[in-house]
Amino acid sequence: MRNIWTIAQREVKAYFTGPVGYVVMSCWILFAGLIFYLILGSPSASADMEPLFRNCTILLIMVLPLLTMRLLAGERGGDQGVGTIELLLTSPITEWQLVLGKYLASMLYMCSLVLVSGIYAVAFRVLGKPDVGKIIGGYVGFLFFSGYVLALGLFFSSLTNSQIVAAVTTIVSSLALWLISFFKDNPSKSLQFLAWFSMLGHHEDFWRGVISLQEVVWYCSAIYFLLFASKLMVASSRWR
């Protein structure tokens, strides 16, 4: 536990002092603000937060991979040739602790993003009369959704030495996963099954203010699976 925290702490500090953290935070504030303004300013404004959440998830897909790209690919070096993974893998920490520490750091920074966007929720509360349940549901949904994208990003970061490749593959595959959710109303059973893997379909309940056990379990298993795969990739880097 202590080791996980030691690793997470370093990464969180790097987010708050390094350029990537600033870029992600500014993008988030700017674009989430813009989405908020456009939706609230439109004549058909319904003081319903669902469109805001829906658009923000796309934004998350674009910015979260920037947080995870460095986590494992950066340790391998590739881009800068630092190879600090050698230090980590010869320290008395397990591969699980390494992966969990990295993941925890990205989750903590993501939480700070979500907290910042909390001002929008407050504004909605003041300006309109939204359902508090929906706001809470939407925010919990954010956490699970982001947790999924971050785990995916960490996995891709464990596959490659290049941070750029890690970021691009994460964005592309998140978008692909997003798109296959449109198959869920397709008559074909196999396409419907494919859609089940998309995080989006498991997300909509949250926006309606429903936190269902089924969806929570889906997200947790998906995240566990991705972290486990990352752990395997880290372990296998000893063989490569």
Binding site: Q80, V82, G83, I85, L89, S91, T94
Partner: protein, 323 residues
């Protein structure tokens, strides 16, 4: 403290380390020598649990590196060859991070940091970003990182590479002071360093051990074989050569240069150290003896001899008996 038995490490079809076995006792400093690509770094990476061995057994402080890897890693301080550092951290926060990862508690932390920064000459740069340090200071950071948790076993891959002469001396002092309580394996390409620092030398070539001895033993060992003595003497050339060739054990005499009156510089190939016999032959023949010596063989000669292949094969057999 360290026991290596029949260690093999292959990268695909290339065997980088080929059945090596050796032991290091507690408190000993072992120098690892070998030409580029000999397999030094690979061996160290296996010992530090970074790479899994293809076959063989390694025990460090009584723990098996495959089965009790975490226990082994707790006891090892490792300076990798490429000196991995986080360029975006300050010296102090980097060392703190490495100390915490290696299990140093908060209460010991500041004492350990001060001690290790002091011994690596980093105290006045403690707040600088590592990315802004020069190559030599980065090397010092890497060394400090290996020492920070006061490990029982230190594995240092070329610890003095790219340091300035003063710092090289300091680092050697530091390493020597650590011996006794710590067991140290270091690799280097600086041969005099081995004689200054190490208790024992392990020379490897193409993944195989070619010598395992003390630096002195290594130097003396070759002196017993065939020798080429240099001799300066004055007198008639043919008579001189004849007298020398008549000495038992001399297989050949060649003239390097010189004249009857100033004397000749001669190279005498002999089966051993025949200085007395040669001197007697020269004096009894009525020639003027001006000089006679066995050239002092440096570690460098021995290194070249053991690691270039024709010569290496000849010496390999006795070397393996030692190992």
């Amino acid at each position: 403290m360290i026991e290596v038995q029949d260690l093999v490490k292959a990268y695909g079809s290339r065997t980088a380390v080929d059945h090596i076995s050796f032991e290091v006792k507690k408190g000993e400093i072992l120098g690892f020598l070998g030409p580029n690509g000999a397999g030094k770094t690979t061996t160290m990476r296996v010992l530090t649990c970074f790479l899994p061995a293809t076959s063989g057994k390694v025990k460090i402080a009584g723990y098996d590196i495959f089965e009790q890897s975490i226990e082994v890693r707790r006891r090892i301080g490792y300076l990798p060859e490429n000196v991995p550092l986080y360029l975006d951290m300050s010296v102090e926060s980097y060392l703190t991070y490495m100390a915490r990862l290696n299990g140093v508690t908060w209460s010991e932390l500041s004492e350990r940091l001060d001690k290790v920064m002091d011994s690596c000459g980093l105290l006045h740069r403690r707040r600088d970003l590592i990315g802004h340090l020069s190559r030599g200071y980065r090397q010092r950071c890497g060394l400090a990182q290996a020492l920070v948790h006061n490990p029982d076993v230190l594995i240092l891959d070329e610890p003095t590479a790219s340091l300035d002469p003063v710092q090289i001396r300091d680092v050697r002092e530091t390493i020597k002071n650590l011996a006794g309580e710590h067991t140290i394996i270091l690799s280097t390409h600086i041969l005099p360093e081995v004689e200054l620092v190490c208790d024992r030398v392990l020379m490897i070539n193409r993944g195989r051990i070619v010598a395992d001895d003390t630096p002195v033993g290594l130097r003396n060992r070759a002196a017993s074989g065939a020798l080429s003595l240099s001799l300066q003497a004055r007198g008639a050339k043919d008579a001189l050569l004849g007298a020398l060739r008549a000495v038992q054990g001399v297989s050949g005499v060649t003239v390097v240069d010189g004249s009857d009156t100033d004397g000749y510089n001669l190279q005498v190939s002999a089966s051993g150290d025949l200085r007395e016999e040669l001197a007697r032959a020269v004096v009894q023949g009525g020639f003027g003896l001006r000089g006679l010596e066995v050239p002092r063989r440096t570690l460098e000669d021995i290194f070249v001899e053991l690691t270039t292949d024709e010569a290496g094969l000849a010496v390999e057999t006795p070397a393996e008996e030692v190992a």
